[in-house]
């Protein structure tokens, strides 16, 4: 039985019941939108049977939850929006098929910022998610429910998604491990789109090994997604329990300027020092274009989002205002009531930057900057194995604090967006705690499709740094 890495108890059924109990006890955290209790128990029995017959897949025993924008056949998928509050997909996302093939049990769907638009998990139509250590704080977003689920032990692993830092930032805030995969690494088929040329799914887990093992299963080419990459997927466990001797690491200068919380700065620098002491060659690097990151990110992602969210029109499967008369009213009322403030703000922004007369000044220019940033990133990576930076500029903040100030909220993504703009993988791992005990995360960025490198360095940090529970 011990050959199944994720097996926790004598039976998967026991494990599922254990997590169900935890979910119930922590319902105040609001980490789940839908708990698939019956489904999970049924599946657990099937997997237990397979284990007995030695036919179970490599994720047997894993109890996993999914950010509620990943489509699950027969299980409601809302994207955190009222407009989809009753939508039950007739299909599984491709990555969900992968999980099922390897016998992971899906226990439910995690809360998120509506359509993944937010950095605090306060924009969900199903209520905000609370930080497990201090309920007055935000857990980060948009995969806040996923990070809290793992941190509070409500599921072993959760899959989140990133468009601009939505896995790494909540992972850092909640003291867990989160991976933003290379663009094209994981199929997007069946993953509700926010900004198609940015969106990527990745796991959040308690350990780098958990994350690495799940990454391996969800990665790979999918003929249903034209943008998924044909690159082969290595056995990621080979990157674990390695040293860092001789690895060439860049430290991103811009992330240590003023504006960064001093406790974060101190903790990350100490971690870098530890790596240096263990034989890593550390070098300061700079990405001068990073200062355009947030602006470029918001122009391009809102443009794509304005089109991606047009399908929620009240005509077919989405929320419709019952009183609306005539076509225009159906559109206007259904969408006005179905979408939340932040989503509407971004649809308007995106529509604006694509409009005739503004396209060249905004969208076209944004694309140019993105291309330059990709070039700059490639050049910076020459001769390097990875680049290190704090995951976030600040510690978890008070709920409500930035909700009315979008610009302040958007700046939370400042250190994470460069990986999303350039497509590279980046892993956030806990590297210390602030004096008040709140977690701090460091991110390890690597070249495209070199997730293995992020696991190697992240696993080393995880095993050599003392962190509070």
């Amino acid at each position: 039985m011990s050959s199944y890495f994720f097996l926790e108890d004598n039976s998967v059924e026991t494990t599922v019941k254990k997590y169900l109990k935890k979910i119930d006890e922590n319902s105040h955290l609001n980490a789940f939108i839908t708990v698939a209790e019956n489904y999970a128990l049924e599946q657990a029995k099937i997997v237990d049977e397979k284990i007995k017959n030695r036919t179970a897949g490599k994720l047997a025993g894993l109890v996993i939850s999914l950010k509620d924008l990943i489509c699950t056949k027969g299980i409601r998928t809302t994207a955190g929006s009222k407009i989809l509050e009753n939508f039950i997909p007739p299909y599984d996302a491709s990555l969900v098929k992968n999980l099922k093939n390897e016998d992971a049990v899906i226990i439910g769907k995690n809360n998120l910022d509506e359509f993944a638009m937010g950095s605090s998990n306060e924009t969900s139509a199903f209520g905000k998610v609370l930080h497990p250590l201090d309920n007055s704080l935000v857990p980060g977003g948009s995969s806040g429910g996923s990070a809290v689920s793992v941190a509070a032990g409500l599921s072993r692993v959760s899959l989140g998604s990133e468009t601009g830092g939505s896995i790494r930032q909540p992972a850092a805030f909640c003291g867990v491990v989160g991976l933003k995969t290379t663009y094209g690494r994981v199929s997007r088929y069946g993953v509700t789109a926010f900004a198609s040329s940015f969106d990527q799914v990745g796991p959040i887990g308690k350990t780098v090994e958990d994350v690495a093992r799940v990454t391996e299963v969800i990665s790979g080419f999918d003929k249903m997604d034209s943008t998924s990459a044909p690159n082969s997927v290595p056995d990621y466990t080979q990157f674990l329990n390695q040293d860092v001797k001789g690895l060439k690491m860049g430290v991103l200068k811009e992330c240590f300027d003023e504006g960064v919380d001093p406790e974060i700065k101190k903790s990350v620098l100490e971690t870098i020092e530890l790596l240096r002491k263990n034989g890593a060659e550390i070098k300061e690097v700079s990405l001068p274009l990073l200062k355009y990151g947030i602006a470029t990110y918001y122009i391009l992602t809102t443009a794509e989002a304005s089109a991606n969210l047009a399908r929620y029109d009240g005509i077919r499967y989405t929320y419709r205002n019952g009183e609306a008369k005539g076509l225009d009213e159906v559109y206007v009322k259904s969408r006005s009531e179905g979408f939340g403030t932040e989503v509407k703000r971004r649809i308007m922004l995106g529509t604006y930057v694509l409009s005739a007369g503004y396209y060249d000044a905004f969208y076209a220019k944004g694309q140019k900057v993105r291309t330059l940033m990709q070039k700059e990133m490639n050049e910076t990576f020459a001769g390097l194995d990875c680049i290190l930076a704090p995951t976030t500029p600040n510690l978890p903040f008070k709920a409500g604090e930035k909700l009315d100030d979008p610009l302040k909220m958007y700046l939370n993504d400042i250190f994470t967006v460069s990986a999303n703009l350039t497509g590279i993988p980046s892993l956030s791992v806990p590297c210390g705690n602030a004096k008040n005990g709140l977690p701090i995360g460091i991110q390890i960025m690597a070249k495209s499709f070199d997730e293995g490198m992020t696991f190697r360095v992240g696993d080393f940090i995880e095993k050599n740094i003392k962190i509070l529970a």
Binding site: R188, V191, S196, L309, A310, R311, L354
Partner: protein, 476 residues
């Protein structure tokens, strides 16, 4: 002052690929509503498009046939607008980098052939259909079976000078797409849809006049009528001092007028941007060469060859190459008959007639090329005459019997014996003294009457040439 019209045409060509442009759904026409749909063409969350390669093959075919430049890299874009039959809120199309550009289409006009420039041809997906019939009370029915079907949109240069040229352009294109096997070319059912941009300007003026777009012309006749109407209207308006507004109009075939639908000011801003769910479409020389190998002989080449090799008239060559199926039938028959002119006559006469009467396709009739060839051989060997050939043809078309068997069973073998023929002639002269008298007095047109009478007596077996000769001998 004289005015000249300037016309450009935009044609949507619905491709008959087996599956839709970006998903695996079938494209069969006429199935029950919403049975040919999936998450992709219904625009459900997370569903992603994957380009159907057959669509590209078809586009390359049309590109080669119109001598277009085939882009080595073309880009798909999203065309954003809201409409209930458009499931995603945007249509996947091509915008600034279409797959085909700078082609031409040859058309036949009164003054000979003319080449019309093609600005661009791009790939896009079709929408679903709205049903506003009474079946739906206070609501609209939506059928998404057509949603996501592949289209090629072909935009001509403004080089069409009148309505006749416009319909010739559509006819030539329809013939071409049918030859290529990429579209049914059915204007009535909408597998080919045509919009016209029409403007007029004083003769000699460089600058184009304000253009009006006319939609909803679902037959060649309507294309001509709508364009004629619109040209006349514009000239009239200008003469009356009215300014032409840039509008989109619908052709109302019943009333025979164009009706303005929307003006330029409230036209949509489609906010095109590159489709991030699809990678750029790369087409290399190999791909083009592979498609080129599957290309059939094109109508104009066929027409020229028929004229040159078979010594047929331009008109006959045009008629016989109008459809690939007829042309194939003709050439197949020729293998047996070895007589182009006679074969052409029978195909254009009897075969076309029977196709019209039975509404069958040429490959469905019982007179196969082999059987028609046999009839022609009997005719050429003077075993039967023209009239008998028609009789046999009709019988074969009915029963599928062998022509020679029909000839024997019906006793249609031509009589060349002059004694027998003289007997018939004597009888006819005896029975019609009045006509004989009139004929002798110069009413030469009565020759046909005597011919008919003799043919009747011989039950069609008499050789007409011999009859004519005998008639002249006897009555002069």
């Amino acid at each position: 002052m004289d005015y000249e019209p300037i016309i450009g045409l935009e044609v949507h060509i619905q491709l008959k690929t087996k599956t839709k442009a970006f998903c695996g759904c079938s494209t069969t026409y006429g199935s029950e509503e919403n049975t040919q749909t999936c998450p992709v063409c219904l625009g459900m969350l997370g569903a992603l498009p994957v380009l159907n390669e057959e669509v590209v093959n078809f586009a390359i075919k049309l590109g080669l046939a119109t001598e277009s430049e085939i882009a080595s890299k073309s880009i798909f874009s999203r065309k954003n607008y809201f409409y209930p039959d458009l499931t995603k809120g945007y249509q996947i199309s091509q915008y600034d980098k279409p797959i085909l550009e700078n082609g031409k289409l040859e058309i036949e006009t009164e003054n000979g052939s003319k080449k019309i420039g093609i600005t661009r041809i791009h790939i896009e997906e079709d929408t679903g259909k709205s049903n506003h019939s009474e079946t739906f009370v206070n609501s609209t029915g939506l059928d998404f079976n057509r949603c996501g079907t592949a289209l090629l949109e072909m935009v001509s240069e403004p080089e069409i000078s009148n309505s006749k040229e416009a319909s010739a352009y559509i006819a030539a294109l329809r013939q071409l797409v049918r030859y290529l096997g990429i579209c049914d070319g059915n204007l009535e059912e909408g597998s080919m849809r045509c919009d016209a941009n029409i403007s007029v300007r004083p003769v000699g003026q460089e600058k184009f006049g304000t253009k009006v777009e006319v939609k909803n012309m679902n037959s060649l006749r309507n294309v001509e009528k709508a364009i004629d109407y619109e040209i006349k209207r514009q000239i009239q308006d200008i003469k009356n001092g009215k300014e032409i507004q840039q509008v989109t109009c619908l052709w109302n075939a019943e009333k025979g007028i164009t009706i303005p639908m929307r003006s330029k000011e409230d036209s949509d801003d489609y906010r095109y941007f590159p489709e991030p769910d699809l990678v750029p479409l790369l087409v290399n020389e190999n791909w083009i060469n592979e498609v080129e190998r599957t290309l059939p002989e094109l109508p104009s080449a066929k027409r020229n060859r028929f004229q040159k090799d078979f010594k047929l008239s331009a008109y006959d060559s045009g008629v016989l190459s109008a459809s690939k199926e007829i042309a194939d039938y003709f050439e197949e028959t020729l293998k047996f008959s070895k007589d182009p002119k006679q074969t052409a006559n029978l195909v254009m006469g009897e075969v076309m007639r029977i196709l019209k009467e039975t509404k069958l396709e040429v490959n469905e009739i019982k007179v196969t090329p082999e059987k028609l060839g046999e009839i022609l051989t009997l005719l050429k060997g003077k075993k039967i005459n023209q009239q008998a050939a028609k009789t046999i043809f009709d019988e074969v078309a009915e029963t599928g019997e062998k022509p020679e068997k029909v000839m024997k069973a019906k006793g249609l073998e031509q009589v060349l014996d002059s004694n027998e023929m003289e007997t018939w002639l004597e009888e006819v002269i005896a029975e019609n003294p009045n006509e004989v008298e009139r004929f002798k007095n110069g009413e030469r047109q009565l020759q046909g009457f005597f011919m008919g009478q003799i043919m009747k007596k011989s039950r069609g077996k008499a050789n007409p040439g011999m009859v004519a000769k005998l008639l002249n001998q006897k009555l002069n």
